[in-house]
Symmetry: C2
Subunit: 287 residues, 2 copies
């Protein structure tokens, strides 16, 4: 049971976490912190939070659980602001999509609190953002990856795990390196490809025709291109080394396809498409 | 009212067309033609077709409407087989995803029937295939593009249009060139990118971890990578010139992203992501 939960960044991720704990009866007061007064107002109206506060440092006084659910780019400032006012027993966790950099931020800004710090990544991204995107049940059947520090106490880790599980999530643990490598490939790379693809279509002379006739394949393939640009700039920059490696691999795959297509090598194309299709069908079956 | 409809290739597209006409009460007998006896048996069981036949030439005797819904690669053989047995009043149409090559096939193999030939492309693709994928209502709210020949009679065109409209589709007309340019961009390119992306992930040493932790973004981005490999090899080969142009444009976009990422140019990344995101959000709103 959390008496005072502070959610810094009341959007899809932070807001839905608050709703999950409320529904589970596991939280007393939820304090929402954010830069936008309008968004906080919306969160209050929607009963995602009970109290709004624009000052993170002030908000965490007396808190027993602090969830930093802002884009990673805002975390240094947030951590600096909350560090002096954290109680010794407060658990600090986050929802950042990259983990090596966030772990480094915990070390730099919250060095006195490391046993209570639990870096986390709920896999429940969306092209939606803001308090209005928060919803009950978002985390049901979703995965949450924890990347604990060597210093993280077993008790803090267990509490974070239990709260996510109360929201219906499955937990796993990875090193920050393994996490960032996996998510460069299954999340960050596809977002960049979707943005680049969208811009490729927009640059065509017949772009209006293209958009008018685009069907369900286009719809699903580009859904993530509607994502929050600032958040994705932050992610791309923070995970750039691994992303550049994946981009290089992808460029090679494309170069191979282009060569096969130039030579009208139907057999090579069929091999490539068959491997991809079989793997995708098997993946779906395993879900 | 169609007395005898022959559907050659009883899968998602052909089968769902038969079901739409049945539900609208616009068809007498539906004869299904295909290479796989097993698939035809399934189509009979599911009442997608009334009669099965493995010989296209024999099937079209006495037909007043012939829908060639096979992959484009099988169309030359199909057209050769049916040409001698078509009645003078039979309408011949297709569901091919490319249109310049299909128009050329009509000219080559069905030269005596051009006023009754209506090249068409229903935009209702899926990663599913086979008779079991056929369903009522597939075409409701979907678009169908017609690319009539100069020789196509107004009457044949009107009949094809009416039947698709009876299934709930919206019709538009394009030249074969314009059609193939648009669909290279909004359908063929994303399929190739999805296949290439999937193969990029599969080649990674941590591929099993990646697939285990992939979330909803991955799911939607890769849905079309589960598509029918043979069909997509045919499409890629038949539309290769335009696809190669689009691939070159896309490679430039990726090269730009890689350069921006190498230089950690957050402003350039934000500009690119913002343009893509705004366009995608606007596209969704317009649907």
């Amino acid at each position: 049971m959390i008496n005072k939960l502070v959610v810094i960044g009341v959007g899809l991720i932070g807001g839905s976490f608050a709703l999950a704990l409320k529904r589970a009866g596991l939280v007393g007061e939820v304090v929402g912190v954010g830069r936008s007064a309008e968004n906080l107002q919306r969160a209050l109206q929607l009963k995602v939070i009970d109290t709004a506060c624009q000052d993170a440092g002030q908000a965490v006084v007396g808190a027993d659980y602090v969830f930093i659910a802002t884009p990673v780019g805002q975390m240094p400032e947030v951590m600096q602001a909350i560090a002096p006012n954290l109680s010794a027993t407060a658990i600090i966790t986050d929802g950042g999509s990259t983990k090596r950099d966030v772990v480094a931020l915990y070390r730099r800004h919250l060095a006195a609190h490391l046993p209570r710090c639990v870096p986390a990544h709920p896999i429940a991204g969306s092209d939606l953002s803001g308090a209005a995107a928060a919803r009950y049940g978002l985390y049901e059947g979703k995965q949450v990856v924890l990347t604990p520090l060597p210093e993280t106490s077993a008790e803090a880790l267990a509490t974070v795990r239990q709260l996510w599980e109360a929201g219906g999530a499955s937990l796993s643990t990875l090193s920050p390196d393994a996490h960032d490598s996996v998510f460069a490939s299954v999340s960050h790379l596809p977002h960049l490809l979707a943005f680049a693809y969208m811009n490729t279509v927009l640059a065509k002379p017949d772009a209006p025709h293209c958009l008018a006739l685009a069907g369900s394949g286009f719809r699903d393939f580009t859904r993530i291109a509607g994502s929050h640009p600032e958040m994705w700039r932050d992610i791309a920059l923070t995970n750039r080394e691994l992303l550049l490696q994946d981009l290089a691999r992808f460029q090679e795959e494309i170069a191979k396809l282009v060569a096969d297509l130039r030579e009208a090598d139907g057999e090579a194309l069929l091999d490539a498409f068959s491997a991809a299709s079989a793997a995708r069908v098997a993946w779906q079956k395993g879900k």
